[in-house]
């Protein structure tokens, strides 16, 4: 007995949809494997698989405790540095401020956090004033040397005190970590990238 056409049609749809789902799964897997976001590839270095960004609580330059996980829902750009830095931090902060401006309204969903590697000099007030020069929404974070050492270790940050004349400087990792809206440590942007690159990646990651 021949099967009714409707059955064959439904069976065909089922096969097609399964094949389509398989193709979609395959393309997503390949996309994930290549560090691609829907709609493009990030300019930053991408971690695969992404892990949950190590959480921490430090003193915020806004006067309250700063806990990273409280920023879930926002795209967090996490930088490490110190306000007396003359070579890296002013450039990084200026680039991030420009990127946030260029994002326009979407910039409200982007939060820059700046963790000091020099708690001896970087008081809450000093960080607040320093960051306000770039963007009033930027928040600094400081704490005891021990607290900050734990955070640096969790992110693989290098910070070495170096004598400079009568004072000192700190040679530190200059990359910026990108934590997505779900709190995953998704990517790392090395020093030297333009504001346009940050805007490009932020737009892709904020789509989610």
């Amino acid at each position: 007995m021949r099967k009714p056409p409707a059955f064959r049609y439904e069976r065909g749809v089922s096969v097609v949809s399964r094949f389509g789902a398989l193709l979609l799964l395959l393309s997503l897997s390949i996309g994930a494997a290549c560090g691609a976001e829907p709609g493009g590839v990030l300019k930053a270095g991408v971690f695969e698989p992404a892990r949950l960004a190590p959480d921490f609580t430090l003193r915020g330059s806004n006067g309250s405790d700063l806990t990273l996980s409280r920023y879930r829902g926002k795209l967090v750009l996490l930088a490490f540095g110190y306000t007396s830095c003359t070579e890296v931090c002013p450039i990084t902060m200026a680039v991030l401020a420009r990127a946030r401006r260029e994002l326009g309204a979407a910039g409200a969903d982007l939060q820059v956090l700046y963790v000091t590697v020099d708690p001896e000099r970087d008081s809450v007030d000093r960080m607040h004033q320093y960051l306000a020069n770039f963007d009033p929404s930027f928040i600094g974070a400081t704490g005891t040397e021990e607290q900050l050492a734990v955070v640096r270790k969790a992110y693989g940050i290098v910070a070495t005190k170096m004598p400079v004349g009568d004072s000192y400087g700190v040679a530190h990792s200059s990359s910026v970590y990108i934590v997505d809206r779900d709190g995953s440590l998704r990517a790392m942007m090395p020093f030297g990238h333009s504001a346009d690159d940050y805007v490009h990646d932020a737009k892709l990651l904020l789509k989610k």
């Binding site: 270095g45 695969e48 290098v158």
Partner: protein
Amino acid sequence: MIAARWVWLWGMAAAAVLAVILWAALTPVAAGSRDEIFEILKGTWARRMAGDKVEILPQQIRLTLGVRDILVLINRDDVPQTFGPVLMMPGQSFRLPFGVASHYQFACTAHASGQMTVIVDATPASPWTRLRWRVGTLLRSGRWP
């Protein structure tokens, strides 16, 4: 008669060398994959703890835009590892594309200098730069690109 044969042989050899040089200079460079992959193999940490000096990443990495310009680091060990500029969990990879020819310095605790350099060369576009790039790659890696 013998002298004529030598002349002919030398002529053929010179023509072959010239053909290779022309090919190397005129053929656009292309790569199947643009990934330059470095892996921390399983058991590396244990070997280091046992006193083995295991080099996992050269102090200087050379890449070429448009040919091999994506640095891929993979941690296949069972413990977290600082690999170049990044801390990577077991099984995690880090894929860093480069879009501008330049010298990049990264802090890296794995090296005595505390630094790792990635040199990204421009895409070899002219015959001379193609030839120089192919010879340089051959000398550095021992394989004909």
